[in-house]
């Protein structure tokens, strides 16, 4: 999607290993979000950021941490991956936090074996 890229697109990792997913934007938007999408659950918010070094937890934050050292990059880290973290992860950006649509990345499909 224009202005936002996620890497990697696919990853297979072993239980117990750390994993970092990257979201990069070129829109200079203040707000960035990480969601996970699972069958039967829809999209659930993991963490979000409202500025450089400003982050907060979402609905399903346990086992995840985030960092935002630059406006354009938002990193999601699974400290010690578990099979329950097998999912599709989406990053999204928005210019404001009110009355504004999100732009989503293409997603990262993560499999923990």
């Amino acid at each position: 999607d224009a202005g936002i890229t996620q890497s990697p697109r696919h990853k297979v990792t072993e239980t117990g290993t750390p994993v970092t997913l990257r979201c990069h934007q070129t829109e200079n938007h203040r707000y960035m979000y990480w969601y996970r999408q699972d069958p039967g659950h829809g999209l659930r918010l993991i963490h979000y950021s409202y500025g450089v070094k400003d982050t907060d937890k979402g609905e399903v934050s346990d086992g995840y941490s985030v960092s935002r050292s630059k406006t354009e990059d938002f990193l999601l880290t699974l400290e010690s991956a578990t099979s329950s973290q097998t999912s599709v992860y989406f990053c999204a950006i928005s210019e404001t936090d009110m009355d504004y649509g999100y732009t989503f990345g293409s997603g990262t499909r993560l499999t923990v074996v």
Partner: protein
Amino acid sequence: SQQGEEDPQALSIQEGENATMNCSYKTSINNLQWYRQNSGRGLVHLILIRSNEREKHSGRLRVTLDTSKKSSSLLITASRAADTASYFCATGGGTLTFGKGTMLLVSP
């Protein structure tokens, strides 16, 4: 927990027919948004309706909002095979909370 809940879960129609999807939510909202997701892709923002608006149009899309019933509907007129996708409602006021989606299949 999910704020929005779409209905039906799945919908199958023929090209040229209209498709209507509904969304119900539980608490007060600032706005309600609809998104489309094609298989294997990210979500795409379709339309946003504010809590003080009752109806909004965008091309072949018509969205209504009834805050007294805490519900919204998305109407796609003259559906095309390319409209085949999952459609999600999301309620906002800070971060967005998404429903589980309606899968729409439009057959040629």
